[in-house]
């Protein structure tokens, strides 16, 4: 077997710490905080916790999905709101639900390339503050009048007359629909459940386990080190708001399918629309040690892949995982001590797990002789996942890295595997290793 500890090249990026806001259902406790404010809350808490001198930070890389149209570069805005030195530059990355992981791997790349020593990376999303867009027809018709400054009443009436029927100019409810196929993501998950023969019961079981494990993590204080309280105009939010310790198989079984009458995807076995933010601090290993930090983990490898969104939208991790393992220097799934798989939908997680365990999938789709492997449920999402904790799109990858980094640092585990599916038919995976 290949050497499991050697790092190619000289520099290695390590995670020094991570922190997130509590996650809350959209339009509830965190509604007053926009994406930038949520990012600031997470980053501020992290910097306070790590007591890092702020002039040590070289840059910010921030992930966002539902970006505010007039301040798209939220990475820079967060830096300014944090009152960091103006010289700490900032950028924003976006790769749908893999945006958070993208921010972290972009930061790691920059550090390993020698572009920076210390980078604040993170991701946040406030679905409560998604801008409701007016159709382009309205904008295009009104723009000449708005821009000319000399429009007469007749001009305005003329323009309005062009805007009939009214239905074409009403603001549209934002939907998580694929641009190319028009399919809502839940419909994609529903089709994946059918195509991979994932039962309603299996989905509900996964959802139940997610809630039970997350509830236990909260109750035992496992998240205390990685979740910070957040102040809103209405008071403090201390813990995750979506986890239901009291849910049961019976309660989940009663829920009606959302996307098809005969379907299996329900509000209970899908991740909810969520507000939240998360941040991690990455450094070069030497810099971390020079500043007196004990690194939590390093990023051994990662991979991003694309599949046809019209086929199985969320199957990407089944292809990204073996690729990341290969890039980790010949590691196998069996080498992974713990696995964190983003739960967009239970149907999607179970489809990906089934394909990872499928010899036929390996042969037909990956060009390998043997299955990537089965994942022991005891190693998978041990502190719950996005179904229970919630899924503020770009914060999810950062949450996962934080929880896994802490797990590697506080146990004797060696490797953690991450898998994330994303809109557009994207898949992402990463291997974290103990330092």
């Amino acid at each position: 077997m290949a050497d499991k500890t050697a790092k190619k090249g000289g520099r290695r990026a390590v995670v020094v710490g991570g922190l997130r806001t509590p996650f809350a259902k959209a339009f509830t406790d965190l509604m007053e905080l926009d994406t930038i404010a949520l990012g600031v809350a997470a980053a501020e808490g992290l910097l306070r916790k790590l007591e890092l001198p702020r002039d040590q930070i070289d840059a910010i890389v921030w992930g966002g999905v539902v970006l505010p149209p007039l301040s798209v570069n939220i990475g820079r805005e967060i830096g300014l709101d944090l009152k960091l030195p103006a010289s700490v530059e900032g950028m924003t990355v976006t790769r749908a639900c893999a945006s958070g992981l993208q921010a972290i791997t972009s930061a790691a790349s920059a550090i390993e390339r020698g572009d920076a020593d210390v980078i604040l990376a993170g991701g946040s999303d406030s679905t409560s503050n998604a801008t409701i867009a007016f159709p382009n027809k309205l904008t295009h018709t009104l723009a000449p009048i708005a821009l000319s400054g000399k429009a007469t009443a007749a001009d305005i009436l003329g323009a309005l007359a062009q805007l009939m029927p009214l239905s074409e100019i009403l603001p549209r409810q934002p939907r998580i629909a694929e641009r190319t196929t028009g399919e809502v993501m839940g419909e994609s998950a529903e089709r994946m459940a059918q195509r991979n023969e994932i039962s309603r019961q299996a989905q509900d079981e996964l959802a139940l386990r997610s809630h039970q494990r997350a509830a236990k993590a909260i109750a035992t204080g496992r998240f205390d080190d990685e979740v910070t309280k957040v102040q809103t105009p209405k008071g403090f939010v201390h813990t995750d708001q979506l986890v239901r310790a009291d849910t049961s198989a019976e309660k989940l079984a009663k829920l009606k399918p959302v996307f098809s009458k005969t379907g299996t995807v329900t509000a209970g076995n899908a991740s909810p629309l969520t507000d939240g933010g998360a941040a991690v601090l990455l450094m070069s290993e030497e810099k971390a040690r020079a500043l007196g930090y004990k690194p939590l983990c390093a990023l051994r490898s990662w991979s991003y892949v694309g599949v046809d969104p019209a086929d199985q939208l969320l199957i990407g991790p089944a292809i990204a995982v073996p690729k990341a393992l290969d890039r980790a220097g010949g590691l196998t799934l069996a080498d992974m001590d713990i696995v964190d798989m983003h739960e967009a939908f239970a149907a999607q997680v179970l489809s990906v797990l089934k394909m990872l365990g499928s010899q036929a999938f390996a042969q037909e789709r990956l060009g390998r002789n043997t299955a990537v492997g089965n994942i022991d449920p005891e190693k998978l999402n041990v502190y719950g996942g996005s179904i229970a904790i919630g899924h503020p799109f770009a914060a999810t990858g950062v949450r996962m890295v934080t929880t896994m980094a802490n797990e590697l640092a506080r146990t004797y585990k060696q490797f953690a595997l991450l898998g994330i599916c994303a809109a557009g038919g994207l898949g992402a995976a990463a291997v974290l290793e103990r330092v």
């Binding site: 195509r195 046809d308 394909m355 499928s358 010899q359 036929a360 042969q363 037909e364």
Partner: protein, 475 residues
């Protein structure tokens, strides 16, 4: 030139009037044709029923689920080979139950693998399967029967059974043609099974819309490197199409380019304008030459060598008709038809074989139904077109070791400038006297040529593929 009956048949009202009044007017089905180049999941949303435990089960299993079809299989043996691919591509496998015959949802494809039949008595299974499920065949659906060459049979009974498949599928084609559906027989030699994959894809897809009632042989004769991309299969290939300014030639240039080929469009200098338009449309290049000129072959080869370093696909499409009964035919009519349709093909091919046509190359020539069946007033044309068949068979053997395949397509009635000039009565007869009851389009021939040009079509060589809608003549 437009087909009135075909446009009538697309109107639901006219269709209902004609059928309810039992008028003796044929209502041909408008054929489903591809809207663009080949895509991997070309059977998305369709159902395929598969029966017969033959040697091609695993090839079918590697085509149908990946192409997106929901597959129902008739036996446990088929279920075993389909299980893996069905799982890998997320297409749950179903067993075909007797009650399925009563279902009303349509099946796009009925496939019977008869490669292991041993006697005429076993042909009864074809009857049972198609008798039960034919009512479920969708409009523009596909029937495929898979067999072996009769000469490869082990026993007298098996040889009889193998050849019986041809009469069966040809007849079935005529029975289902009214709904735009096709039936074809694929005869796969032992050892050539992997090469059947690309052939199956062509016959299952709408690219074969106008190919019906045909037997096509797949052999392991030509060398093959295993290349068989499902999308953009011609990327990196250089193709020469003669007579590319219009009609079938222009459609072929478009089709080859759509699959990724760099196309060199050749036609006479006086057709510079339409030829340049074709080349511009497809991002190809123009080569002006009169193929009947004795020195043109060498200069065509030299040009290809100079600008592209060689050529991978050669389509001999340039052709003329000079119709007259032999008694009235002038010498020039004979000379032109033979000179352009046959002598030029020989000359250009010989010139290209002298170091310009690359290994794994493809040669496709245009033959014609007239070349197979003969036609009144076409002694010259038919001679040239059946000459092409001889050339094709000879070259196929000669070039097999270099991995070069040589085939011909024989169009039936195709709606072109040439057939538009034919008298109305003859034209109507040409259209209707076929299983599909209509004329084909130049793009139908182009797609057959493109299929024969694919790297994955290495199993097809020395064959004459008719694109005739199951024409009743020349069988």
């Amino acid at each position: 030139m437009s087909d009135l009956l075909l446009s009538l048949s697309t109107s639901p009202l006219a269709r209902r009037l004609v059928t309810s009044a039992k008028l003796p007017i044929p209502m041909p089905e408008k054929l489903a044709r591809p809207s663009g180049p080949a895509v991997e999941r070309f059977l998305e949303g369709t159902t395929a029923l598969v029966a017969g435990d033959g040697a091609l089960g695993s090839v079918l299993a590697h085509v149908l689920p990946r192409a997106g079809a929901k597959t129902l299989v008739a036996s446990d043996a088929l279920a075993r080979v389909f299980a893996g691919p069905c799982e890998a591509f997320g297409r749950p496998l179903h067993m075909l139950a007797e009650s399925d015959a009563q279902r009303t949802d349509k099946a796009h494809a009925l496939v019977f693998d008869a490669t292991r039949v041993t006697s005429p008595a076993e042909l009864k299974r074809l009857y049972t399967f198609f008798h039960a499920y034919l009512p479920r065949l969708a409009r523009c659906g596909r029937v495929l029967v898979l067999g072996r060459p009769a000469e490869s049979a082990n026993t007298l009974a098996q040889a009889a059974a193998y050849n019986a498949l041809e009469g069966f599928s040809r007849s079935l084609a005529k029975e289902i043609g009214g709904k735009g559906a096709t039936a074809n027989l694929i005869i796969v030699a032992e050892g050539a099974e992997p090469r059947a994959a690309a052939v199956l894809r062509f016959f299952l897809s709408s690219a074969s819309a106008f190919v019906s009632a045909q037997p096509l042989r797949v052999s392991a004769q030509a060398q093959w490197n295993g290349a068989d991309a499902w999308e953009r299969p011609l990327a990196g290939k250089v193709a020469l199409v003669t007579g590319a300014a219009r009609g079938i030639g222009a459609a072929t240039a478009h089709s080859l380019a759509a699959e990724g080929a760099q196309v060199v469009c050749l036609d006479r200098p006086e057709d510079d304008e339409p030829l340049s338009q074709v080349a511009r449309d497809i991002g190809g290049s123009v080569l002006l030459a009169d193929v009947s000129a004795s020195d043109s072959a060498a200069s065509i080869a030299a040009q290809l060598k100079k600008t592209h370093g060689g050529v991978d696909i050669v389509v001999h499409n340039a052709g003329v008709t000079r119709d007259r009964t032999l008694a009235r035919m002038q010498e020039s009519g004979w000379d032109q038809a033979l000179g352009i349709n046959l002598e030029a093909v020989v000359r250009i091919t010989e010139a290209l074989l002298d170091g310009t046509l690359r290994d794994q190359g493809r040669i496709v020539s245009l033959s014609s139904i007239a070349g197979i069946a003969g036609n009144m007033g076409q002694t010259n044309y038919a001679a040239s077109k059946s000459g092409v068949i001889g050339l094709t068979r000879h070259l196929a053997r000669q070039l097999a070791t270099r991995g070069i395949t040589v085939n011909a397509v024989a169009p039936g009635f195709i709606e072109t400038r040439m057939t538009a000039a034919v008298p109305m009565v003859v034209r109507e007869a040409g259209r209707r006297l076929s299983a599909l009851g209509q004329g084909g389009l130049p793009e139908d021939v182009a797609r057959a040529i493109t299929f024969l040009s694919l790297p994955g079509s290495a199993g097809v060589t020395g064959q004459i593929l008719r694109v005739c809608g199951g024409a009743l003549i020349g069988a």
